[in-house]
Symmetry: C2
Subunit: 384 residues, 2 copies
């Protein structure tokens, strides 16, 4: 079995790189003195989750109820569902808990507390729901400002509500993705830490419990100077790696565990393009790294790096355009495309900009061992 | 059963709008005097395919081998696989043909002909492969220039190759999506038609067969002045409709058959955003219509239009940012977001920019009848 025998487009996952990425983040968590609760929204795979939690306390983070049900089936019981909770989703949460899951939920909105409490009380035999308060350290997505009296008010409302328990606070500094220097990421990591700790201290100062102080994104997890006062971190993209994370300095190109295998399906010499069968569905239309680096497009061509991973091609060929099932490879300015080196049927590898999005349309991973031969297929959880 | 009972995010499909869209395109094909071979890469649904082919000759277009296998299982046998063929994919094509499919394939590359012929001959009991020659009328994706001697040379190579049959020519004027006026689309439609007919006449003039002269994209199908010399057209997006097609004038807002149902999961008053549980996966990161129209973002909020469809909200609220599972709704410049009108748990509808991409991550359609109540779930084909 070799890459030549796989149908394309196909999602490839280097097991040696995955294992190294996970070992590095585990060491990082140990050095920072926090628990590692990996976010599995990136990988959506039980096999990856087992590697990412190896030697850890076993908790994971999920972004959908479909992931929660899937990972419960894979044997994971301690799960933080890190998206704002609404009462309509509690019946499914309760069913997961009845099947053995211990779910930690998220809110930033006092208006939802009465409904969450009522739902918790109406469920027979339900142990209630544990909620974290989401804090916004500057990402301007979900969360309350950390120094706001509203944090204590929400904490007290949760703590006092029948059927609900206050579990702590959670911050996600997603705006770390906008940084262009390590120093800027370090600053955002410190703001993320400080916001979480300030909110936790405000709650404790008001006599409320705050056992969990949770932060995390891959860039801040990698670059934080310290995490004093934090109890856990929740990075996710580091498991698989992508061009955006290389650009952010979260890992080097040796951290790129995923590539899309595609086949050359045509040449358009008049347009200066080589066509492959990986387009907008197989690569996604995410342009994150391209918006930072120039000639990256929808992904860079890659080659085996000789160590079980994938390295960007020295020549800088990239997927300049995508249609649904067509990708169009271009050469960087000043270079010509060597059409004869890419004959019809030749296999190529494409490194994704943003692996969470690229992996989404694929049913699973063709897993490669150290010799870069396929050794397994690991399915992915899909849908919601 | 109502929309309030669906888990979110969910893909909604208005059956009345779908049926009207399909009836309109069927009438258009009849008026133009061509056969309608709808491209099912958009809908990826047997139920939609049955409506789109109702009263037609039954042929369809597909973009992946997974679609070909799926639609064969749904009873469709006459399929054009409109992506450049490579020898590695012939074994699956042969298996489909052995199971009753009549596949028409695509090439623009003489270098592939010997390998395709050898593969055809090596398969026991195989009826051979029928190939169309792809022509580029200006889209600069796949295809040979229409007036090139290479068209006749490739036609002859296919015609003379054991195991292969020359089926005709195919053009896709995808660059019609770049037009900003109907006049420009009409011009591109005429160039698409003329390129196909010129290539067909060149083949016939050389004594080669060219029974199929195939063109098509939704904008050119809607706006072509005439299709003299063309035998079939292959539009696809018209079935479901999207904001891009509204902007192109392919249909009005009454042609929008698909919306994403989402739930309000938070407010960020400091950032001026309402959060919903439909993000980059549920909406896609396609910005096509937004790149043309301004404040569209990743989709416009919508409301039931009273006729079984969806209409953009009068206030112009739109999904300004997406994260994987979060969408952030903004108000157009000069307007405020009415947070109280979007309480936690409220359901909202989002109209997609590019429905082919938006539908991709969803397992299927929640189908709504004329009263906008869910009446069925139609699964979608996924993967490759």
């Amino acid at each position: 079995m070799s890459l030549e025998h796989l149908d394309t487009p196909a999602l490839l996952l280097s097991r040696p790189v995955l294992e190294r990425n996970c070992a590095r983040m585990a060491a990082r968590a140990e050095a920072l003195g926090v628990k590692l609760r990996p976010h599995l929204k990136t990988a959506k795979s039980g096999e990856v989750a087992r590697i990412a939690t190896h030697g850890q306390f076993g908790g994971i983070t999920v972004s959908t109820l479909a992931e929660a049900a899937y990972f419960l089936g894979e044997g994971f019981t301690d799960m933080t569902y890190a998206v704002g909770m609404v009462p309509q989703k509690l019946a499914k949460i309760a069913a997961l808990q009845a099947s053995g899951a211990r779910m930690t939920l998220l809110t930033d909105n006092p208006a939802g507390v009465p409904a969450l409490s009522a739902a918790a009380q109406s469920m027979s035999g339900n142990p209630g729901f544990t909620l974290l308060i989401e804090i916004d350290s500057g990402g301007r997505r979900g969360g309350l400002p950390p120094v706001d009296d509203a944090v204590v008010a929400l904490g007290r409302a949760i703590h006092d509500a029948p059927g609900l328990a206050l579990g702590g606070v959670l911050v996600h500094a997603g705006h770390s993705y906008g940084c262009t220097t390590v120093a800027a990421i370090q600053q955002i990591a410190e703001e993320e830490r400080a916001a979480a700790v300030a909110a936790a201290e405000a709650l404790r100062g008001a006599g409320l419990p705050c056992p969990v102080v949770s932060v995390g994104s891959t860039p801040t997890a990698v670059h934080a100077r310290h995490l004093t006062g934090v109890t856990e971190m929740r990075p996710g993209v580091y498991t698989l790696g992508d061009l955006m994370q290389v650009d952010l300095g979260s890992h080097g190109t040796d951290g790129l565990a995923v590539a899309v295998l595609a086949t050359v399906i045509g040449h358009n010499r008049a347009a200066g393009r080589i066509l492959i069968d990986a387009g907008g569905l197989a690569l996604s239309k995410d342009l994150s790294a391209a918006n930072r680096q120039g000639e990256v497009g929808y992904g860079l061509l890659a080659a085996p790096d000789g160590a079980g991973g994938f390295a960007p091609s020295d020549e800088g060929y990239y997927v300049a355009e995508v249609h649904q099932e067509h990708g169009l490879i271009a050469a960087p300015a000043g270079r010509d495309l060597p059409y004869d080196a890419f004959p019809l049927g030749r296999r190529v590898l494409v490194l994704p900009n943003h692996v969470c999005m690229t992996a989404a349309a694929h049913p699973g991973y063709h897993v490669l061992g150290p010799d870069q031969a396929p050794e397994a297929f690991w399915p992915r959880c899909t849908g919601w």
